[in-house]
Assembly symmetry: C2
Homo-oligomer: 170 residues x 2
């Protein structure tokens, strides 16, 4: 089965992201707006049990942290994906690293750029239009992150949460 | 914010349900296949924290239990919703009851009929066709349930998991 790990930002940020995604993101219906912190990986029933124990341990060693979103950015020219740029807080970078060590699959193919996708698979003209108008816009979101979610993918491509892992709040 | 509580069955059952939902359920894209165990209710930030504590307590007092699905059924003539009928295991009925007592909103408007919706809002002709062919079909799913999920709804109608509550496995 295919798994992945994400952070869901607050409803406020998700609603903002969806206002763009409904028009510009063909993956709109597959998963609600999210920050991927571990790309999709394969695991069988036994493997995922080991992974879940490891994820509990990672979450227990993590403390809640703040994220900030101030602008959109793009992966152009690699892809024409447009995203809400999540300022790379050190705790977020550390969390991403801890999710790729020890018994956890080391499946990261790109360097970690925390982001919430709002547009992808656009034509060149669409991309130029949409990015042109969004990149001059200012955003001002700041919030606390205190959990991540282990997801699995169904045959139709949609994602379901298997388990929530909350950080240590002491 | 609007919250609800569901059980997600295994990927196998969800894939089966989606094979019908993609054609017959306009809510297909809003949430993956699920058993609603507490209908949607409103809660503010403070209220939901109290509710979460209560949900932890309910989950800790619950043990994993088996569910079985053997056939489809329908809410006709009240609505023309068609669903995979989940045999009402006593533990599932007890869980539903515990989610409507003490500090938890007592918002249940119908008697509890555990089900996984696979078709809804069909025309009368479509309903007769689809239900006619599905009601003579046999299904044979049996699996263990060991968790429920607290969800919240975004402005576009889709649902995101806020937190998973796992049962006591001792």
């Amino acid at each position: 089965m295919k798994y992945g790990i994400v952070i869901f930002p607050s409803k406020e940020i998700q609603d903002e992201a969806n206002s763009y995604r409904m028009r510009y993101d063909p993956h709109y219906a597959l998963i609600t707006p999210h920050i991927t912190i571990k790309e999709s990986f394969e695991a069988d029933k036994d493997e995922i049990q080991t992974i879940i124990q490891e994820l509990k341990s990672v979450a227990q060693k993590s403390k809640p942290f703040q994220i900030r979103i101030q602008k959109v950015s793009s992966f152009f020219p690699v892809t024409n994906t447009i995203y809400l740029k999540v300022e790379p807080a050190q705790e977020l970078i550390d969390l991403n690293e801890r999710l790729h060590t020890k018994n956890l699959p080391n499946n990261q193919t790109y360097s970690f750029v925390p982001h919430i996708t709002i547009a992808q698979k656009l034509s060149d003209d669409e991309f130029a239009d949409v990015f042109g108008s969004l990149k001059i816009q200012e955003f001002n979101f700041e919030e606390e992150i205190d959990r991540f979610q282990l997801m699995y993918q169904l045959e139709n491509g949609t994602w379901t949460v298997y388990q929530t892992f909350t950080f240590d709040k002491e």
